[in-house]
Amino acid sequence: MTDSIQPIIMPKWGLAMTEGLLASWSVVEGVTINAGDEICEIETTKLANMFESPVSGLLRRCVATEGEDLPVGALLAVVAASDVSDVDVDAYVARFQEDFVPEEADDTGPEPESVTVDGLRLVYLKQGEGDGIPIILLHGFGADMNGWLFNQGDLSEVAPTFALDLPGHGKSAKQVGDGSLMWMAGVVEKFMSAMSLPTVHLVGHSMGAGIALQIAADQPQAVKSLTLIAGAALGDEVNIEFLEGYVAAKRQKHMKPVLQQLVYDKDLISPDMMEEVFKFKRIDGVIDGLNTLIQTNFVGGTQQGSLRDALSALSIPVTIIWGREDQIIPVSHTDGLPASVKIEIIEHSGHVPQMEHASRVNEIITATIASAA
């Protein structure tokens, strides 16, 4: 009967994660859970987040106890149908624990790579193989490839994925040209040709969504589908206090309320997350780059240049995802879009639904890509 027993294991959120702390269970043994249900809260050295069940079924055992530190891949819980005996469930748990070997600390899986286009070093993380049309993930202002840590693993089962550090961000070169979406799109287009990716699916978040839309407008034949999450360039308003606060804040005390505007659940902003932001901002050239991006695209809290017309001209599948409680770019920017555009509003989510409701967002992206086939 063990075929019908399914393990739920400690996830790997990002390359650096080797273990996680099970902070609390939000479900109890004996309940039926669905894939995507939040079942527990997990804390890593970098972040705390609700873990969404990858499987559906009757929760038979919560193996991990609250407060326990466990390596990636360790058994958290067991799901099995009600006709599986307790003896079989216990035997499964015992065997899993006996066979379990944590991954070596230095075996961190895929490593970021880099390519130089037009003298700009671009760093990317490739995950997934196969001959499917590749997926490129474009992060937002001030973020980097790690913004996709809850998404890239799932999406790489569909097709090869490339999470890119945009110019001025992450480990890529810190020059941002004139800071325009058009300039950024041009760099990503050169990245695509340097990597021999003639056709792609694009997934963009916030500023990255604006860039994705610009690429689709520039090269409609190259882009097979478009998923835009809380995208820029679809309306006027943008939260300039957030953008300027992000650049200005130097202490956690000041950064916390700034970053909390990103999320619905304000507890998601951890001290380590803020330290990562400070470390990023200290790199030579970063502040200049961020200021250029603000000046060019968001000056005075008004987005410069709408790409709504470009959206209407597209004949590929386009899905727009937005968090209902977005405090950075209002959800009202989904109003009045062409009927061909599929709109998905995520409840209980701020500006980063791909982190706050990763399973749901991954499903939507996967469906959008499938509809292009």
């Binding site: 650096a16 480990k171 810190k174 202490r251 956690q252 005390k253 001290p271 200290r282 790199i283 030579d284």
Partner: protein
């Protein structure tokens, strides 16, 4: 980004600044390594290898060995800085600094002031400090308090590899004389350090954790020890803020006061002697400016007022450790 040691982090900061600015030069005893020897070059890179690899990349005109004459080559650094170069001079052990106090205290530290603000002195003196290396009392002192006392000097005591790289970058770019204290037992400590150049501003403290019950201010290597103590305290239900001032001059007084106002208690951890020290300085500033916020007596955890002993058992007992910090916190909370 990759894991780098404290030694590699400092080396990388110097190398990146030398690439960025041809006026940056390095000199000190065995910094090139091999001058006057049998022909082997880059043999040492300073006594503990921090500058190794700079000579092959930048050549003998920018990486120089000096005679064992600290007063001469520290004085040369002050003069070179005043006339347009950016020297990074290594004075092996801070314990030897006494022979060039005039060059530092009376010359380098005074140029900007005495020339009416028209002169700048962008020099860095790198030096090793700290006990625990079994190097006895003439090679183990933590003398940053002495330099903190003198206006015109900036004093940096980095607490980790990440901090060391960013603070060294800032030290080289800074237009004032900087005394950069490297703890010799930390050279092999490792952590993630970005490959790109970055600078950490002076006078801006870092909070390694934020708590409600007590503020622990710790200097240099003591930051890591204070965090170990804070882990212990957390198990006992006491939550601590740990402040790493990064630089003792300038000192981020505002952050220290704010933290004490939040927690109501202060423990200062400093591995130098307790009299006229950074620990006593911070304690007095808090007593003067945040007295009403204090709910208990300020505590200092320091080395005793004795030379650093050579007997290993005594040397180990000499340096502050987590248990001593936990005890001090309990006194502050009593």
């Amino acid at each position: 980004m990759s894991k780098k040691s404290y030694r590699q982090a400092i080396n990388e900061a110097i190398a990146q600044e030398m690439r960025r600015d041809e006026n940056v030069l390095v000199w000190g005893e065995d910094n090139a390594g091999g001058t006057g020897g049998d022909g082997e070059q880059d043999a040492w890179g300073g006594v503990l290898g921090v500058t190794k690899g700079l000579l092959p990349e930048f050549g003998p005109n920018r990486v120089l060995d000096t005679p064992i004459s600290e007063s001469a080559f520290i004085g040369a650094a002050a003069g070179a800085a005043a006339t347009g170069l950016r020297p990074v001079a290594e004075l092996m052990f801070v314990d030897f600094m006494g022979v060039c106090f005039d060059q530092i205290f009376n010359q380098a530290a005074k140029f900007r002031y005495m020339f009416g603000g028209k002169a700048v002195t962008p020099m860095v003196i790198r030096t090793m400090y700290g006990a625990g290396f079994r190097a006895a009392s003439q090679h183990s002192q933590a003398l940053y308090s002495v330099f903190t006392h003198v206006p015109g000097l900036k004093v940096v005591v980095p607490s980790s590899p990440y901090e060391a790289k960013g603070l060294m970058t800032q030290a080289i770019r800074d237009d004032d004389p900087v005394i950069f204290f490297e703890n010799k037992v930390m050279y092999d400590d490792e952590e993630e350090v970005p490959d790109d150049p970055y600078a950490i501003p002076f006078g801006e403290a870092r909070l390694t954790r934020e708590g409600d019950d007590v503020t622990i201010v710790a200097i240099g290597r003591m930051v890591g020890i204070a965090n170990q103590a804070a882990d212990e305290l957390e198990k006992a239900g006491i939550s601590a803020t740990v402040v790493d001032p990064r630089t003792t001059s300038p000192l981020d007084v505002d952050t220290i006061i704010e933290c004490v106002e939040d927690t109501g208690r202060l423990v200062v951890v400093d591995e130098s002697h307790p009299r006229c020290s950074v620990a006593s300085d911070i304690s007095s500033i808090v007593a003067q400016h945040a007295f009403k916020a204090l709910k208990g007596p300020i505590q200092m955890v320091t080395a005793p007022h004795t030379p650093v002993p050579f007997a290993p058992e005594l040397e180990d007992a000499y340096v502050p450790n987590p248990a001593k910090i936990v005890d001090a916190v309990k006194v502050a909370m009593a």
